[in-house]
């Protein structure tokens, strides 16, 4: 399926194909969510920059962003942030406290927290999306 050992994605695909365990999948997801967050950070700064043009300009931007569609997209953003945050803490805990052996268990604990967080966020944000 993944024949190429080089190329932008081939390298990653090969890595995961050769060793398809939790550690490698979470590594790939950590990387993908990380890249998404860097791009999002630029957008976040860009939107906030409207404040330099005055309160009205900023409020126009914000009200555009408070649309039902954006509330739904925010659920996706929350998922990306929550995964990167929880998996990042797992990596840090494993690195600093010599917990590399139970790292898979820690991963699933993190994923349970992730699921609980996502259910709460989805309920609240969907409520807002449909209250418009």
């Amino acid at each position: 399926m993944f024949e190429s050992k080089s190329g932008f994605f081939g390298k990653y695909a090969e890595e995961v194909r050769l060793n398809p365990n939790v550690g490698n999948w979470s590594w790939l997801l950590h990387r993908i969510t990380g890249v998404i967050l860097v791009i999002y950070l630029f957008m976040h700064f860009f939107a906030l920059s409207s404040s330099t043009a005055g309160a009205n300009k900023f409020n126009t931007w914000i009200s555009t962003l408070q649309s039902p569609l954006l509330h739904v997209l925010e659920i996706g953003l929350a998922a990306v942030v929550a995964f990167h945050l929880l998996n990042g803490l797992r990596i840090t805990v494993a690195d600093f406290f010599f917990l590399t052996k139970p790292h898979k268990t820690i991963f699933w604990v993190a994923m349970i927290i992730f699921l609980i967080f996502m259910v709460i966020t989805a309920v609240v944000f969907l409520g807002r999306a449909f209250s418009h």
């Binding site: 390298k11 990387r31 990380g34 890249v35 967050l37 860097v38 950070l41 700064f45 906030l48 920059s49 404040s51 330099t52 005055g54 309160a55 900023f58 409020n59 914000i62 009200s63 408070q66 925010e74 929350a78 942030v81 945050l85 990042g88 803490l89 990596i91 840090t92 690195d95 600093f96 966020t121 609240v124 944000f125 807002r128």
Partner: protein, 118 residues
């Protein structure tokens, strides 16, 4: 052992974890305040009201550079995995530092804008 192994990547590893721990706490607070309090109906006055407190100003003054360092150091790690040539590496590093510092300065300018109010 290669004597020329750079120490900077070990610092990069360590700082990525330290900023990561800070960002985890900061982001939970940031998300809680902006999405799970009445502030979710955001406008300019809501932000300036929050920025009246010195605590929040200090919060953002750490949040901005910590977030940007984590983002650009992470981006560097991704780029580094593709083993670019030495010349390309230093060019990309320089570019990321310039971008990071420039956006940090812009972030501080935005903090001042929100602190001053309309």
């Amino acid at each position: 052992m290669n004597e020329k192994i750079s120490k900077s990547s070990a610092y990069g590893w360590l700082l990525q974890r330290i900023t990561g721990i800070f960002l985890a706490f900061f982001l939970i607070l940031h998300f809680q305040v902006l999405h799970f309090t009445k502030e979710w109906k955001l406008d300019f006055s809501v932000v300036t009201q929050r920025m009246n407190s010195t605590g929040w100003v200090i919060f953002y003054c750490i949040f901005v550079p910590a977030g940007l360092f984590h983002a650009f150091n992470g981006a560097w790690q991704v780029i580094h995995d593709y083993r670019p040539k030495a010349g390309t590496q230093s060019a990309v590093k320089t570019l990321l530092w310039i971008l990071g510092i420039a956006i940090s300065v812009w972030g501080y300018y935005l903090i001042i804008t929100f602190t001053k109010g309309a």
